[in-house]
Subunit: 231 residues, 2 copies
Amino acid sequence: MRPPRHAANLDDMPRLLIADDHPLFRAALHQAALAALDDGSIGEACDLPGTLDALGAEPDTDLVLLDLHMPGSRGLSGLATLRGQFPAVAVMVVSAHDEPRVVRRVLDHGAAGFISKSASPGEITSAIRTVLDCGEWVPPHLGESVAALPSDPNDSDLAARLSRLTAQQYRVLGLLAEGLLNKQIADRLAIQERTVKAHVTAIFEKLGVRNRTQASMLLRTLDLADPARVD
Amino acid sequence: MRPPRHAANLDDMPRLLIADDHPLFRAALHQAALAALDDGSIGEACDLPGTLDALGAEPDTDLVLLDLHMPGSRGLSGLATLRGQFPAVAVMVVSAHDEPRVVRRVLDHGAAGFISKSASPGEITSAIRTVLDCGEWVPPHLGESVAALPSDPNDSDLAARLSRLTAQQYRVLGLLAEGLLNKQIADRLAIQERTVKAHVTAIFEKLGVRNRTQASMLLRTLDLADPARVD
DNA sequence: GGACGCATCGGACTTTCGTCCCATGGCCGG
DNA sequence: CCGGCCATGGGACGAAAGTCCGATGCGTCC
């Protein structure tokens, strides 16, 4: 399920990327990361497209600290996108939703760890060190509950399917799930409708669905709603 | 937003319906309801279709005690269905999700009250009395937090739109949101595809969407997921 | 260099979707 | 008893979706 994270960057110069839409929290993560690294570089992004761009520019990034709730991503969709498009990059999810089942799902979707937003700087530093060392990190106070939770087979299955999508296919899927027509998707991506159709067909085949409604439903199961989102 | 609940049954013989898939809890609710009624009848149902059937058979029911999580309904969809098809019947939601934002959404979708599954029998009895008296009931310990929460305009809007759907249209919408073709929906409902198309067009018009993918997305916002459903 | 995956398109085609007319019959409330 | 809403269908139609054949480049990996 969780593909091996090979160190894209073998020397002792770890590359980190901090992806969070809250500047203050970004700074706090930055401090904790500095304490965890002897040396290395730390980038920042404030939304999902920015994160993808940064990874595209630095493909040998070792670790992304990812907030689940950012512009362009709610729930697990951002994580799924990153894991699908950059399977070699480890992702540690940072979230205020520190409930065992959320952590369980996050891990099942390929995250290398989970940091609660209420964690102390020291804990965050430990978490980063652990994950950079190819370990897995779960908040100590949640460890047992998470281990006790079974993986949802639907989740593992979904993660496996989504990971087969290419980057472009993932973009098409996202637009498709907003109810856009093929023609509109084509305009957004600056390609021809025929090409969109080709992608859509490939998406259906990989996800094992037969039409766009089913595909968008599948994507929706990635939503990790606050039980009552007010946004 | 919340249409007036006129007492369909003006004499002192209140009719209740308990809808919960857990027999034990159904019995507990039954006891609490008996304590709240001097006289009256109490029916039971264990899934959403059963609830709808029971209401169809007893349209002058006064109050339904509705579990949010039942076969055929997850999240707010069951509530929306009931409110849409039987606007004259008061619904009190019974759920373990006793978080303020859940309660807020439940009320915005037309519920007359909310009972936490951890409430005492006495509290449940009070709640039933209050609602039967055309009042609104929120657990005392949540009252302030719920009142402080703003109604999500999306929710009010969605509730208003969904309430305009007819019973049959609601069924069609449900099947449509599962990714079924018009032809398949027709088979399920034992009607012609043309008729399904007529319903679908009406649904789009009432919901203000332009295709089935958008319609199914709209319906999906009714999901009140446990943050990480394991089902 | 060659195999492979990917993105990009093209044509032609069938199916499904969605809309526009229209009509019928039932049921309910004024 | 009648006007209105509803569910049910019919015919025809354009638009969109989805599939099947094909092709061209562009990278990467071995």
